[in-house]
């Protein structure tokens, strides 16, 4: 099962690498990882989507906590959260398929952000499941290129638990 973990890290040299190194050194999966600044310029937020059973996720959280550059580690799965991903998808079209692709884009509330005589680029955001869905639907038309941002997530209207809470 996929799990989303949100990690506040020091915005310092090497913090990202330390997290990534820990995942590879201990053989944990990373499905996606995204990092960006937070409201505090010296803190970055990483959103990591990983998978594993309860014991594995428990270890991941503990090993993340063990790193000195991590300030807060929050397992978001099972909480009220908002998860979003952005994708840019370039699709080839033939005469006749353009209209259909535009309709699909509308259904998924995407935007066409670039077009030439052979292909067009669609921008779409939403929960990762929605991105998977539009990709599936567009696949038969011929996806030329694609870039996904990886998931970002925040929990909704509740306090993120402090780093030491799980130690009780």
């Amino acid at each position: 099962m996929k799990h989303t973990i949100s990690v506040l890290v020091e915005n310092t040299f090497g913090a990202f690498d330390r997290v990534a190194t820990m995942f590879s050194a201990r053989g944990f999966n990373i499905h996606s990882i995204s990092i960006g600044e937070t409201e505090q310029s010296d803190i970055s937020r990483m959103t990591i989507v990983t998978s594993g059973d309860k014991q594995v996720i428990d270890q991941i959280v503990k090993q993340l906590n063990r790193l000195l550059d991590t300030i807060k580690v929050t397992e978001l799965t099972g909480r009220a959260i908002t998860e979003r991903e952005l994708a840019l998808i370039t699709v080839t079209f033939q005469k006749g398929s353009l209209e259909e692709i535009k309709n699909i884009t509308d259904v998924f509330r995407g935007k066409i952000v670039d077009i030439n005589n052979k292909s067009l680029m669609i921008e779409v955001t939403g929960p990762p499941r929605k991105i998977d869905a539009i990709i599936n639907v567009l696949m038969p038309f011929g996806i030329k290129e694609m870039a996904r941002s990886g998931t970002v997530a925040l929990s909704r209207g509740e306090q993120i638990r402090p780093k030491n809470e799980y130690k009780k």
Binding site: G14, Q55, Q59, K62, K163
Partner: protein, 573 residues
């Protein structure tokens, strides 16, 4: 009160900071990137710099020093090859949780990333094998970085911390002030055990019919040997140690079951599998201890005391974790438990196992055996020596046959299993000046991996007994080949290629002996233990094809334990 600020160079700040941290010994090796520090060192008298013969030697020496003193071991090396030579020593300290601070020189900031002469990304290389590491990018941060490094290395679950210092940072100047406090928001080790958890544990222990203490190196780190011993005695609980835990409980105590695990005693392993409450203290359920985890203490209620939350439920799921410093937690538990239970049936069972399968080897014997030599050393030194073992069969025999009476006396590479550890680690131990006999025990293979540090021992007249258990084989690998790999002794036979060990010792100015008869052991030991002002070397030509028993094959259960060679092997050379 604020201290008066003064302008200092990075090199000055380095030494001022070490002075603040109370550092007395630095193990190191100079080079271009650190030359300014060495220039200053020329006039420094408040600490001793020890020049080893190899940077790996310096890290193991600092490691040995840290293990016996409990202080932070300090290493100073240059950039590039100097830094990469420390990697094994750092990994070794990391896996055994040894507090160390390693200073590496680095090429000037402006050249970093250019594949400059003697550049290596040592911060990148050591990221997964340090508790934390730093590169100094502004000389103003040097003092606070050093303060943090010593704090991180020595608190919580200890470990090595590396500081990479570009050459221009060592030369640059800034106002110096040593910080009084450290504040790292992502690092707040839990020291005090949770009250309710301790109460629950006490209740379980009180109700236990067959309790067992499984004790590891965490109790050494926490200096909790006294508390542990009192706790075990007051509650009449048998104690088994991991390799790194040896010495935390007296080896001669009737409640002691010896080491558990792959080469642990039969009775310790039986006790693990039959106990109803297992109390793990400062131990991490390592695979060499548990074998297959499914059958490890399967029916026991497991209490796990450790300062590192990440070891809880990592390999074996436990019923009651208590995160915190072992010393304090054991003190609290002692207060909770007052009346001494008799546990009569449990002890009868344990005594039965002891009688069924004691630790044994063939004796008397015309062959010289490592087990016998170790037993004699143990007797002669009364269990009071500091024994620094290397890695292999002899290491397991030290663990089985030396009766350690004190903590911080068994120095051994547990987690990484680094051959070549013993000689340099013993050098570090000697610099702790503890006035106790120091015995370095290596196999003939491992001895050759860092024997250059004999020179360091000779130069400083270190009173170390360098013992080589020469079985002409990479014994432990040979053992696996014999038992599990169709007796294909691929590249483990050193008989034709071993040097004449006494010649090596002699060439380096060290008095050296070689014996091969069991009846000569006592004489030679008497002779060398009377020498206390310089190193000596003794080669023991031991039987070539001995095997360490008992043995639980990797990934098996205790029930698969092998006690002796299944078929007679004919002549043992």
């Amino acid at each position: 009160m604020t201290k008066k600020k003064k302008m200092l160079t990075g090199a000055d700040i380095f030494f001022e900071s070490l002075r603040e941290e109370g550092v007395e010994k630095v193990f190191g090796y100079p080079g271009g990137a650190t030359i300014k520090i060495y220039e200053k060192l020329y006039d420094i008298d408040f600490l001793e710099h020890i020049l080893t013969r190899h940077e790996q030697g310096a890290t193991h020496a600092a490691d040995g020093y840290a293990r016996v003193t409990g202080k932070v071991g300090v290493v100073l090396v240059t950039s590039g090859p100097g830094a990469t030579n420390t990697v094994t020593g750092i990994a070794n300290a990391y896996l055994d949780s040894i507090p160390m601070v390693i200073f590496t020189g680095q090429v000037p900031t402006s050249l970093i990333g250019n594949d400059a002469f003697q550049e290596a990304d040592i911060v990148g290389i050591t990221r997964p094998i340090t508790k934390h590491n730093f590169i100094v990018r502004d000389v103003k941060e040097l003092a606070s970085t050093i303060k943090k490094a010593f704090y991180i290395a020595s608190t919580g679950r200890p470990g090595p911390v590396l500081i990479d210092m570009p050459k221009d940072m060592i030369a640059a100047e800034c106002e110096y002030e040593y910080p009084e406090k450290v504040e790292i928001r992502g690092y707040k080790p839990t020291v005090k055990g949770h009250k309710n958890q301790i109460k629950k544990a006490a209740k379980m222990i009180r109700e236990a019919k067959r309790p067992l203490l499984y004790v590891g190196g965490g109790v050494v780190m926490s200096n909790a040997s006294k508390e542990l011993t009192e706790f075990a005695h007051k509650n009449n609980i048998p104690v088994t140690n991991t390799l790194l835990g040896l010495g935390t409980f007296p080896g001669t105590d009737p409640q002691f079951l010896g080491m558990l695990g792959m080469h642990g005693t039969y009775y310790a392993n039986q006790a693990v599998n039959n106990c109803d409450v297992l109390i793990a203290v400062g131990a991490r359920f390592d695979d060499r201890v548990t074998g297959t985890t499914e059958t490890f203490a399967a029916d026991a209620y497991k209490i796990h005391i450790d300062i590192d939350p990440s070891v809880i439920d990592k390999n074996v799921l436990v019923d009651l974790p208590i995160v915190g410093d072992a010393k304090g937690i054991l003190e609290e538990l002692l207060k909770e438990l007052s009346d001494k239970p008799s546990q009569k049936d449990w002890w009868t069972q344990i005594e039965g196992w002891k009688k069924d399968c004691p630790l044994e080897y063939k004796r008397p014997d015309d062959q010289l055996r490592t087990q016998y030599v170790i037993e004699r050393i143990s007797e002669k030194t009364n269990g009071d020596a500091i024994v620094v073992s290397d890695v292999g069969q002899h290491q397991m025999w030290v663990a089985q046959y030396y009766k350690f009476n004190h903590p911080r006396s068994h120095v051994s590479s547990g987690g990484l299993g680094t051959m070549g550890f013993s000689v340099p680690a013993a050098v570090g131990v000697a610099f702790a000046n503890l006035n106790r006999p120091i015995v370095s025990i290596s196999g003939d293979g491992g001895f050759q991996m860092n024997m250059q540090e004999l020179i360091t021992a000779f130069y400083h007249n270190l009173p170390i007994k360098f013992f080589i258990m020469n079985n002409c084989f990479l014994g432990m690998v040979r053992q696996w080949q014999e038992l599990f790999h169709e007796k294909k002794y691929s590249f483990t036979d050193l008989c034709d290629s071993n040097p004449i060990f006494t010649n090596i010792g002699t060439a380096l100015g060290i008095e050296s002996f070689s014996i091969y008869k069991p009846e000569d052991v006592d004489d030679i030991l008497d002779k060398v233990f009377a020498i206390n002002d310089r190193p000596v070397l003794v080669e023991f030509k031991v039987s070539k094809e001995d095997l360490v028993f008992p043995m639980v094959p990797a990934g098996s259960s205790i029930s698969d334990m092998i006690h002796k060679r299944l078929k007679p092997k004919g002549d043992i050379l």
